[in-house]
């Protein structure tokens, strides 16, 4: 008898207690509609997870741990691998143990787990000072999942791990939501679904390539997800759904001060600063001056923002909407990449802006710096005839720390004697730049420390835009013309596949503004030195760069190549622009999809009123609920009422499960008795009696009066039954 039991158990362990969805073919509504869903994975409770599932799960956690490096402190990220490594060792050992017929150990002892837990908590406390904050919170969850994996023994644990991994997958969007990252996350989710599939299917039962069917499962859900994304009423407020970092524009900014040579270095920085899309007319390259900062304070060839810039209320500038719908304006929308710079680029001359606040130097600043990519719009005056009022001009715009030498004074006197008005003065100085052999270069020579301006003006005569802006502005101040330096971007590349302007850090530019005829006017000395820079933009100019200077020999070919690219360079530009357009549309429609954008979309679809949409959604939800109920109700109503002895036995099952014994579905009464005996051998007689009474009631043919007495005794037996706390962990019999 004992041998037979053993035999049975052996058989069970090999293949019996495996579980697979029996309802692989459901004849539900979906089927009738012709929608074929993959088999529903039922929640398995017992079988040992297959090696394939565990390997895949290890890979999934390793991927999360690797991703963890990109956001967390390396020490914490590195620590994540420790439990993982230990688990791999345990898994390998268990695999061998199974081969040798020994008991698998699954996980280290509680002491080791406790040490790991304390270490994890300690690391988070040390490096983050608590669990507040995004990174600390996510590090916490990553460590949690790694430790949970280490601790996992039974299938249910591994399922928990999968659920946490799915949660982490969605957390990735807190840091990056570019196309690439959503592709990555989608792939990851497919991986997790595959693992769930593998876990719920014992190795022997896997009939189809699971990765493929998991991908199909996700693909089935995708249209609904997209529909809901665009149509589901959006909640006002920020979820921290961050914009993409696809063009490695991570937190770059123009400096708040200008030192000659800085912007020249930026010319090699091809990172994207922002994209701008114009509503109707796109201004020509030489019109596209993106104003970011105005520098007033002069510190001997260095410029910085004046400390007394204040917030300004000027009713002539339209705030809020940002766009002026009359003809004299360029109206545009900007999607700015992630940046640490609180100053926003707006096209000169500013007339309307939607975001930030206006300062007295006509610069728009955010209250806090814009760490997220953001979208805003603005308007620029096409006629260049608007500017701030006169009362803003004072001595500050004439102060210089650098003083002219005698040679410079002679030059200044010459100009003074030749010109009658400030405008004429400015033109004289620009003419001087044009007539003399000044050159434009990315590698400006080193200047004298004491008199950098004179050294540049008389000796080297070779510099980048900031040299010219700085020199020109200082000279104008010496000539008693109020002047300031403006830093921003000039030009930008037109993306022909998306018809928007892409402005990169290499487009950074500096120019001057002079107070002439009662308003601030833009004067760009660079235009006098290197018209190509302004006419064609930095992109074209870089084609002429031969490593040392912008060579004139290259000019013709470079410009031809830039304006009419052919062959490889055309294909490359096309690909670059297409990809850029894709990520622009992504940022515009997905990342920055807000209540307003939704409204816009719905209006264009003819679902103008928000209320209509909400009603539609509510109706849809009600409809789905009714369909679901119609599906479920008949079978629920048709189900057979449970017999009294069954209901009594359910009470017993509940009592047992509450004490931590897992009752598998498909268990018979005797299976349940067996698991009780395993836990508490002293109660063998008691439980066997209950089971035999139950069996007599349910399966034997007995007379009605005997049935009544048996029912009574079953009732009292079950109510008397209390599971004694037995051995905590089930040890093996062999």
């Amino acid at each position: 008898m004992v041998k037979e039991k053993q035999n049975r158990r052996n058989y069970f362990e090999q293949g019996w207690r495996v579980r697979m969805s029996a309802s692989t073919t459901r004849k539900g509504l979906l089927k009738r509609l012709g929608i074929n869903l993959p088999p529903r994975p039922t929640v398995p409770k017992t079988h040992a997870p297959s090696n394939a599932a565990l390997s895949a799960l290890t890979v999934a956690i390793a991927l999360v741990a690797a991703w963890h490096f990109s956001i967390a402190h390396p020490a914490i990220a590195g620590f994540t691998f420790l439990p993982l490594l230990l688990k791999v060792i345990y898994l390998r050992r268990d695999r061998r143990s199974v081969e040798l017929g020994r008991q698998a150990k699954h996980a280290p002892s509680r002491w080791v787990m406790a040490i790991f837990t304390v270490l994890s908590l300690g690391l988070i406390l040390i490096f983050y000072g608590g669990w507040n904050g995004q990174v600390a919170g996510i590090s916490f969850v990553v460590l949690l999942v790694s430790l949970k994996f280490l601790e996992s023994r039974v299938l249910r644990d591994y399922f928990v791990v999968c659920v946490i991994l799915l949660f982490l997958a969605s957390c990735a969007f807190l840091f990056d939501s570019s196309i690439l990252s959503i592709l990555g996350v989608t792939f990851y989710v497919i991986l997790i679904v595959t693992i769930l599939h593998l876990l719920s299917t014992p190795g022997a039962l896997a009939t189809k390539p699971v990765l493929f069917s998991s991908a199909r499962l996700i693909a089935t859900a995708l249209p609904l997800a997209i529909l809901l994304f665009f149509l589901f009423p959006r909640i006002q407020g920020d979820f921290g759904f961050l914009p993409s970092r696809d063009e490695n524009g991570n937190s770059q900014a123009l400096e708040d001060r200008m030192i000659a040579g800085d912007l020249a270095l930026a010319a090699f920085n091809n990172a994207l600063a922002f994209r701008a899309e114009f509503d109707d007319v796109t201004p020509a390259t030489h019109e596209r001056y993106w104003r970011v900062k105005a520098l007033t304070g002069e510190r001997n060839f260095q410029w910085e923002i004046a400390p007394d810039t204040t917030w300004l209320q000027d009713e002539r500038v339209i705030t809020g909407q940002g766009k002026l719908l009359s003809k004299g304006f360029y109206n545009y929308t900007i999607i700015h990449q992630e940046s640490t710079d609180p100053y926003l680029p707006y096209l000169d001359y500013l007339r309307g802006f939607s975001d930030g606040m206006l300062l007295n130097n006509t610069v728009v600043r955010l209250r806090n710096n814009g760490a997220d990519p953001f979208i805003y719009s603005g308007s620029a005056d096409r006629q260049r005839n608007f500017n701030m009022s006169a009362d803003l001009v004072d001595q500050r715009f004439l102060q210089t720390e650098a003083l002219p030498t005698s040679r410079m004074n002679r030059q200044l006197d010459t100009w003074r004697s030749l010109a009658n008005t400030n405008a004429e003065l400015a033109n004289l100085v620009l003419q001087h730049f044009r007539k003399n052999p000044f050159s434009y270069t990315l590698l400006p020579p080193i200047l004298d420390e004491e008199f950098p301006l004179e050294d540049f003006f008389f000796r080297t005569q070779s510099g980048y835009c900031e040299h010219y802006a700085s020199t020109f502005t200082t000279i104008m101040r010496w000539l008693q013309v109020p002047a300031r330096v403006v830093v921003g971007y000039q030009g930008g590349e037109l993306n022909t596949s998306g018809s928007f302007i892409e402005v990169r850090y290499s487009d950074a530019h500096a120019w001057s503004e002079l107070w002439i005829d009662g308003r601030w006017q833009r004067y760009d000395p660079t235009a006098a030195i290197s018209p190509d820079r302004i006419e064609f933009g930095m992109q074209a100019l870089m084609e002429m760069w031969d490593g040392g200077q912008f060579s004139d020999q290259r000019r013709g070919r470079a410009l031809a190549n830039f304006l009419n690219p052919s062959g490889v360079s055309a294909a490359y530009r096309f690909m670059r622009q297409t990809w850029s357009n894709a990520s622009y549309q992504w940022n515009k429609w997905v990342v920055n999809y807000s209540v307003d954008t939704q409204k816009e979309l719905l209006e264009s679809l003819g679902l103008g009123k928000f209320k209509t949409l909400s009603t539609l959604m509510v109706l849809l939800i009600i409809g789905i609920t009714i369909i679901a109920l119609a599906q479920l109700l008949p079978s629920w109503l048709a189900r057979e009422p449970k017999a009294i002895e069954q209901r009594l036995f359910d009470i017993l099952i509940k009592k047992i499960s509450r004490k931590g014994i897992i009752i598998e579905s498909g268990s018979t009464a005797r299976d349940i008795a067996e698991s009780v005996i395993q836990r508490s051998p002293t109660q063998a007689n008691e439980i066997q009696e209950i089971v035999s009474t139950f069996e007599s009631l349910r399966y034997a043919s007995i007379a009605a009066e005997k049935r009544a007495t048996l029912l009574n005794s079953l009732k009292s037996q079950i109510s008397r039954f209390r599971l004694k706390p037995g051995k905590k962990r089930q040890t093996t019999e062999n």
Partner: protein, 314 residues
């Protein structure tokens, strides 16, 4: 005290079954190390079904059938199936007797109670089907005459699980004729050593029952009560195999009927007067697996057992 009577009802052996238990004990004494296979063989016989043993040569298939026949006091015959075996070699042949100048029928080996059809898959389909018809109908038709077989009639067929040259695998329709398929396997360390020491006496098997007693047991076994919940349970399993994507076709109603017979026989052998779901479930791999063709080519025993996990059994 009612519980006491209940347990007596279910868990203790009734005297009727005790002589069967001694048969089982006798079987265990000779076929070492695999009491469950022995029990299944007896269950198969009690349920008036035929047994298919799929195993490698030399693990005791012949000994099992021989001993079983001896213990039950039944005549035993053995046919080694080969590719040139003809139906007449199994059923019998009509020959001309020059003395009497008449044709007379020579009964073949099938006219016995326990027939061991060794390596059944070596014979041609023609011969196989001659045997299989007899198994289903308990009679043979030869030259227009129909002859009834002995009662009880019990075929133990063996086949080699390995694919070999010159074999004719039994088609599904014919596998369906076998109530139970099992494999014996190796006896295990302790028993094999005992076997090697030669302390066994195969001839010690004395008849413990008469054929008449056996027939009584067989009819009694089918009187075991099978309540509605058990029938429901069995039906759900059958239905699950039909709805499942794992199998080419589900189980036939005949399979269900035979399964229930086997479950009753098993309960009877256990000394119970009712079938419980455990009986059904226990027999699953032995009764159902050989009747199911998996689509994936995987082990059908595991797949059908997996289905059971979704079927409530309480």
């Amino acid at each position: 005290m009612t519980s006491k009577t209940a347990s007596q009802n279910t868990l203790t052996s009734t005297p009727v079954a005790s002589d069967l238990n001694s048969v089982l004990a006798g079987l265990d004494a000779i076929i070492l190390g695999n009491p469950f296979a022995n029990k299944l063989a007896l269950v198969c016989l009690l349920a008036q079904g035929h047994l298919l043993i799929e195993d490698i040569p030399g693990v005791g298939k012949t000994t099992l059938s021989h001993t079983l026949a001896n213990l039950l006091g039944l005549p035993f015959k053995r046919v080694q199936f080969t590719s040139d075996l003809l139906p007449t070699d199994v059923l019998g042949v009509t020959i001309y007797d020059p003395d009497t100048k008449r044709f007379s029928f020579k009964k073949g080996p099938i006219f016995t109670s326990v027939l061991l059809a060794d390596e059944i898959n070596r014979a041609t389909p023609k011969t196989q089907s001659a045997l299989l018809q007899a198994m289903e109908e308990y009679e043979v038709s030869i030259e227009g005459r129909t002859l009834s077989l002995d009662k009880p009639f019990f075929v133990i067929a063996t086949q080699n699980p390995l694919e070999q040259h010159g074999t004719f695998p039994l088609p599904e329709s014919q596998l369906d004729r076998f109530l139970i398929r099992l494999s014996l396997g190796y006896p295990g360390e302790k028993f094999e050593k005992q076997l090697l020491q030669g302390s066994l006496d195969k001839t010690s098997a004395q008849a413990l029952l008469t054929p008449e007693q056996l027939l009584v047991h067989m009819s009694n076994a089918q009187q075991v009560h099978c309540a509605q919940p058990v029938v429901d349970y069995l039906w759900q399993i059958l239905e699950a195999t039909r709805r499942s994507d794992f199998f080419q076709t589900g189980l036939s109603p005949r399979a269900g009927l035979q399964w229930l017979r086997a479950a009753k026989a098993y309960a009877y052998l256990e000394g119970r007067d009712m079938v419980i779901p455990d009986d059904i479930r226990l027999l699953t791999p032995y009764v159902a697996a050989h009747r199911l063709q998996t689509i994936s080519g995987k082990n059908s025993a595991e797949l059908v057992s997996a289905l059971l996990q979704d079927i409530p059994a309480v």
